[in-house]
């Protein structure tokens, strides 16, 4: 047993750390400062980087939303023009989904999965860093087009403007000749790569790195949802990757996949996109369901009601989610049989989702509910997500959807599930785990103020949109006429959005304040139930002084009630591990960053192969091919060096007081 535990702590699957033969870059060892962040392989640091970027983009996406709402405040408004508006909603949707909610989830995957499964890091720490930096490259490519609004002589053609699902043939060269669409295609492609790599890593981590005793049926629900989500990602993203390749070829090499004059079928893009797109919405909501399933038991002080059923329904949602994509295409003339089949399949998803709602209520039932801020957001989630789910069911009735599709009713539906659902749960999670990772509490009072502002503002913004949609207001319209009966609804929604913006602002302002000034907290400020609450806040680099032995579903709750038994076990583990050389930790590395940078250089120039970019009246980077190839070579070289360098590693030794000392090179 002790052997297994000691080995378990190993990351990098049994590679004996050896002196690097081809040591081109000395392995960085900095623990603080810029270099430590750039070269880190620590899942917590990577998680925080993901989180920081995601929150930044969430605010940018929100700002874009506020501009959209301002334009729609009054009819025939000329605050912004059609073109800019189209860029705004495209980038708002793309940003919120790919650059805010997905990476925020990735942040929590990184922060929590290794700790909740009782491991010291993810299975492939350098690969994890690679996913992060590749994600940054994708985010850059998507947004770089904005620069041409600031410096008009940079002719990227503005930000992407084809809508977040970029229906062909609008994406073909004939209709959107500018670079923005190429950057959109490549940006999404690269974000997809990042997500697939990250998901593979999480799958292996969850399945293979569990602490002794942590069976799958004891796994925290959050980890289960992360596992299902990771599977959805690796299985759904290839569909859009292929679709994007096809668009890219159409644009650059004259293929005919979606080229109407060559016999292409633009509807194929829709199928491939939604084969990805529908699982994608569950990719956005399953991790939030995980957070809520962690938060509710803590604040109701009861275990999750119906754990196996919640887990199973999560798996079921993921699986059925692959068979309903065409409900986004009810109006494309698929024929009655296909429409009927997808309609019914879509309704079926209500069952496993409902099961989760019922079990959450079951968790509350008979508990001692403490309405702390995270709990308020979690409860808000249940209410709002339920409403959003109901409008989803209304969409699933295909003939009724013929009136709702592409109207504000859809906008209302998906903001209820995406904000009322995903975002509320994320805000709950941020508030809940903030003390764990920063060691400080967020003040309750201001948290509650922000909750109420957000809650009220959100409903004021999006509830009227149901009615706007039923009253015939189409989405993606930069202006509307004053005689359509939409004036009041839009005005009200815009006011709501400002209120919502104020709420979001308050929320994050309070976080920033708490980061510096918040009250310090101990291991377990909420009386939590899972393993992360058993370690110090913020967690040390090696997470656990001793790898825990898991005896029950809520591992830490069990530990708290069986302290003697656990203390003995832990002492034994520590001894065993020290006798094996101490706690093994993976080394930092430059290569993930370099590989990603090479990829960025390659992609950025590849996008421009057919578009010379003008800067200050001159054609700069006149030949992009060499630069693109250089980028490719840098990437492959970095990957090669990465594989030669090996995982490396060093050891941490703990003294009786838990103080750590490090030793390098003592690999025996």
């Amino acid at each position: 047993m002790a052997e297994a535990i000691a080995k378990h702590a190993f990351t990098g699957a049994g590679h004996p750390p050896a002196k690097a033969t081809f040591e081109l870059m000395a392995r960085p060892t900095a623990k603080t400062g810029l270099i430590s962040w750039l070269t880190t392989v620590d899942h917590k640091k990577i998680g925080m980087l993901y989180g920081g970027f995601a929150i930044l983009f969430f605010l940018i996406g929100g700002l874009e939303a506020l501009m959209i709402r301002t334009q729609l405040m009054v009819p025939n408004n000329r605050f912004i023009g059609a073109q800019l508006y189209n860029e705004l909603f495209t980038m708002h949707g793309t940003t919120m989904i790919f650059l805010a909610v997905m990476p925020l989830n990735a942040a929590f995957f990184n922060l929590l999965i290794p700790i909740q499964v009782g491991a010291r890091d993810v299975a492939f720490p350098r690969l994890n860093a690679f996913s992060l930096w590749v994600w940054v490259v994708g985010a850059f490519l998507l947004n770089v087009g904005w620069l041409s609004h600031i410096v008009p002589s940079w002719q990227f053609g503005g930000a992407p403007d084809v809508g977040w699902f970029g229906y062909a043939p609008l994406t073909s060269k004939v209709f959107t000749p500018d670079l923005s669409t190429d950057l959109w295609v490549l940006g999404l492609q690269i974000l997809g790569l990042s997500s697939i790599v990250a998901s593979l890593n999480f799958i292996v981590t969850i399945i293979n790195m569990r602490a002794p005793g942590l069976t799958m049926m004891r796994l925290p629900v959050f980890c289960w949802m992360a596992l299902v989500t990771s599977f959805l990602l690796i299985l759904a993203l290839p569909a859009i990757a292929i679709a994007l390749v096809e668009v890219m070829f159409d644009r650059n090499f004259g293929t005919n996949f979606f080229e109407v004059s060559g016999g292409g079928q633009p509807i194929l893009w829709q199928h491939l996109f939604w084969v990805f797109g529908h699982p994608e919405v569950y990719i956005l909501i399953l991790p939030p369901m995980g957070y809520v399933s962690e938060i509710l038991p803590t604040f109701a002080r009861k275990p999750l009601f119906g754990y196996p059923i919640i887990v199973f329904s999560g798996v079921a949602i993921g699986f059925i989610g692959f068979g309903v994509w065409s409900h986004h295409m009810f109006t494309t003339g698929m024929g009655v049989v296909a429409t009927a089949a997808f309609s019914i399949a879509t309704m079926a998803i209500a069952v496993p989702t409902g099961v989760k709602i019922f079990n959450w209520i079951g968790t509350l039932w008979g508990g001692q509910i403490m309405t702390r801020v995270p709990m308020m957001f979690a409860l808000g989630f249940i209410w709002m997500f339920m409403l959003g789910g109901f409008s989803g069911i209304m969409h699933s009735a295909a003939p009724a959807d013929a009136q709702q599709q592409d109207s504000y009713f859809v906008i209302a539906h998906f903001h209820y599930v995406l904000i009322g659902g995903a975002t509320f749960a994320l805000l709950a999670a941020i508030h809940y785990w903030f003390p764990k990772f920063f060691g400080r509490m967020v003040p309750e009072f201001w948290g509650k103020v922000s909750f109420w502002l957000i809650f009220v503002g959100f409903n004021c913004t999006f509830f009227p949109m149901h009615f706007l949609g039923l009253n015939g207001m189409p989405r993606r319209t930069w202006t509307y006429d004053s005689n359509m009966g939409w004036n009041e609804g839009n005005f009200f929604a815009t006011m709501g959005a400002y209120l919502l913006g104020l709420g979001i602002f308050t929320y994050f302002a309070v976080l920033v304040w708490s980061f510096f000034k918040g009250q310090k907290c101990g291991n377990d400020p909420w009386d939590g139930r899972t393993l992360e609450w058993s370690i110090p806040s913020p967690p040390p680099e090696h997470n656990f002084a001793a790898i825990p032995n898991v005896h029950a579903r809520d591992a830490w709750w069990y530990e708290k009630t069986h302290q003697d038994e656990i203390a003995a076990e832990k002492a034994a583990h520590i001894k065993a591990e020290e006798s094996h050389g101490g706690i093994h930790m993976p080394d930092q590395s430059w290569y993930p960053l370099f590989a990603a940078a090479g990829l960025g250089l390659a992609a950025f120039n590849f996008a421009q192969l057919h578009h010379p970019v003008m800067m200050m009246g001159n054609q700069v980077l006149s030949s992009h091919l060499p630069l693109a190839l250089t980028g490719g070579v840098i990437m492959v070289a970095a990957l090669y060096l990465w594989s030669l360098e090996g995982p490396g590693g060093y050891h941490i030794h703990l003294d009786a007081n838990g103080n750590a000392t490090e030793s390098r090179g003592d690999h025996h």
Binding site: K7, G14, P16, I207, F231, I234, L235, A239, S261, G263, Q265, L268, H271, V275, F322, G323, S326, G333, M334, G335, V336, V337, A338, H667, H668
Partner: protein, 120 residues
């Protein structure tokens, strides 16, 4: 773990699969040969199609279970791979049906020409 394993004595190993692999490869080549011949034979079309599908499925299974050792690995690997295989197969099946249905048929050539003419 860090023991230089190159010197590990072979006695503990399972018997070499060298000849076994060669046999598998031979079977695979023969099947491929049969497939190629099959399409030229004057037999009912449905039969050839079925036979081809079955034969390539057999080849597929031979490779994943023997060359890729699924047969000797933990079942979980098999499950993992089949999740992807089944979903991909299902999606392909659905797509082919969606496009094969009457409603999914593209405009006739005539209608296409008409549409093109009106673009001017």
């Amino acid at each position: 773990m860090s023991a230089p394993a190159t010197t590990a004595d072979a006695g503990h190993h399972e018997p070499s699969k060298f000849h076994f692999y060669i046999a598998i490869a031979m079977i695979l080549s023969v099947i491929t040969g049969v497939e190629v011949v099959l399409v030229y034979l004057p037999i009912a079309k449905w039969f050839v199609v079925t036979a081809l599908v079955v034969l390539s499925a057999v080849k597929f299974m031979f490779v994943i279970f023997f060359f890729m050792h699924l047969r000797w690995d933990k079942v979980f690997c098999t499950i993992l791979f089949f999740i992807g295989l089944v979903l991909a197969g299902g999606t392909m099946w659905a797509l082919l049906h969606l496009f094969g249905a009457d409603a999914g048929k593209p405009l006739s050539a005539a209608a296409l020409d008409f549409a093109r003419l009106t673009v001017g």
